[in-house]
Amino acid sequence: MANSDIEIVVEDPTAPDENSPAITNNRTVEMAVMALLFVLAVVLGWDNWRTGASWDSTGPQAGYFPFYLSVILGGAALYGLASVAIKRSEGLETFVTRAQLRRVLQVFVPTLLFCLAMQWLGLYVASFLLIAGFMSIIGKIAWWKSLLTAFIFVAIMFVTFDVAFDVIMPKGPLEAVFGR
């Protein structure tokens, strides 16, 4: 295939290093998840037992159906835990490498901050900061492009949701200044 046939090329300057060391493997994570699910099943089972998991004069009590579901969840989690525990340890699949985790956190942390900021600044200002910040800091895109894109996107969202479809979003001090 000649290279001239390729017409769309998008490079990734921050691509994760392929030789990055593994942080953990799938078996360890699976065991942790199964253990957590088992604990969750016990907690929910206990709560449903407390609510009432038997029969009274009107039929099954409120906790009856969810109690037995907790038992099923707990049983399946225990089975999962046992089946992972006896798995051979050689050739285990990597869950995440250091480079991959770094990239995942590059999205997760800003998202977390965005959710926090939304409570004080309102959805639209928080969205503007997230998009502009993410594009320029993480994506290394020119600041003016980042600011312009963020402004246009947030304006479209505002007009679509707040004006056209009347969907109420969390508002902050900026919206208050503009009387909305």
Binding site: V33, N48, F65, S70, S83, P110
Partner: protein, 503 residues
Amino acid sequence: MEALGLLFHGFAVLFTWKIMALMMVGLVLGIFVGVLPGLGGPNGVAILLPLTFTMDPTSAIVMLSCIYWGALFGGAITSILFNIPGEAWSVATTFDGYPMAQQGKAAEALTAAFTSSFIGSLVAVMLITFLAPSIAGFALKFGPPEFFSVYLLTFCSFVGLGREAKHKTVISMALGLLLAGVGLDTVSGQLRMTFESSDLMRGVNFLVAVIGLFGISEILLTMEERLALRGHAARISLRTVWNVWKDLPKYWATLVRSSVIGCWLGITPGGAIAASFMGYNLAKRFSKDKESFGKGRIEGVFAPETAAHASGTAALLPMLALGIPGSGTAAILLGGLMVWGLNPGPLLFVEHKDFVWGLIASMYLGNVVGLVLVLTTVPIFASILRVPFAAIAPMIVVSCAIGAYAIQNAMFDIWLMLVFGVVGYVFKKIGIPLAPFTLALVLGSRAEDAFRLAMIGSGGTVKVFWSNGLVGSITTLAIVLLFWPLIDRVFEMFGRKPSPARA
């Protein structure tokens, strides 16, 4: 014939400027959703659902279903031009679609994909038109035991016929059913699993869960990988379309076979992924030239696309007729119906004829308009991929947050979305399937209500689930499907293989 009359009535409901415009908007948004990395059909429908809250149910469902068709069409673009399957059911399309693009036949491959998508959907919509009213009519005779046994059949077939480890499917389903029970118990008025949190009293909204599980987690997963793209651009000419279409009769057997497989796996919860692979494998098995598959054979595009789209569309049949969705996206559409106060199931055909037949008519029209739209706009949609992911990712996060917040106007839902995002990321990486979770979360309270009513009616004996031939056969079938892997193994031990389900 009655169905045809009602269908024409449905078209009459549909032909207004407003609904036609919404249909176009839905299709365009859907193709965007299908093409963009980190988004997909279920996620796109869930995020855009709040847009429809202020619409009447018919307009809303037409727009949402068109987002769904658009996403189905859009997935093929990235599979063929970039070798990146937008959805898991597009994986089989890459086997021959991408080699065709490498050989300079990208336009042919795309035309084949769009055309076969259209054919698969059309066959499934015709099935819905003629079968759904009869099933719904039959289901009107159902009481709580019958309904619970049908729910049980759905859950058991997910466990028994699913490709994932059985205990993982059980975990996913039990977790979904448990979360569906959080909050106020509508029968006794008691609070369950709320741990004195006022936010949990409202319950866990399944749309919030879906947005987190499919949207946020997909962004995290996409970000993990290298985001470089090298692909082909394609423009589809009328001549190419004509050349592909005139050869269609040659592939009639593949198209019919894939449509049947797709419809079957759509109605039973086999799913579009299984359908696309089965369609591809059978096309290869029945071909005289098996060796050419995987090297750019057009039949290798026709088969999986027809099957996947027939399956995706047929999954709406049990949703409309019985209130039981056959796929994750159908479950989200069902949730949408409930948001608008409609009760999916047999009564829908009696109480909301305009809505049901308007929706069915929109499936025909949406597919025709969608086909024309994708054939004419491929270069525009393919060029979306030039936009760097660093610009797309935060926009998707914002869209997810808007979607999650708008459902109940609750900040707590934003945090819940984030938690589900992490859960979805971990679950996907360790192979816990998410579709059974979504299904269970949607159907949980209905299944519990049916179970409790049936048990109250019988005075607490489970024999009620075998109290007549109908409920008895459905319950028995459910148990057979639950233990199907064991039964299959027993058959294998005796040297017989009863079905290709495990293939």
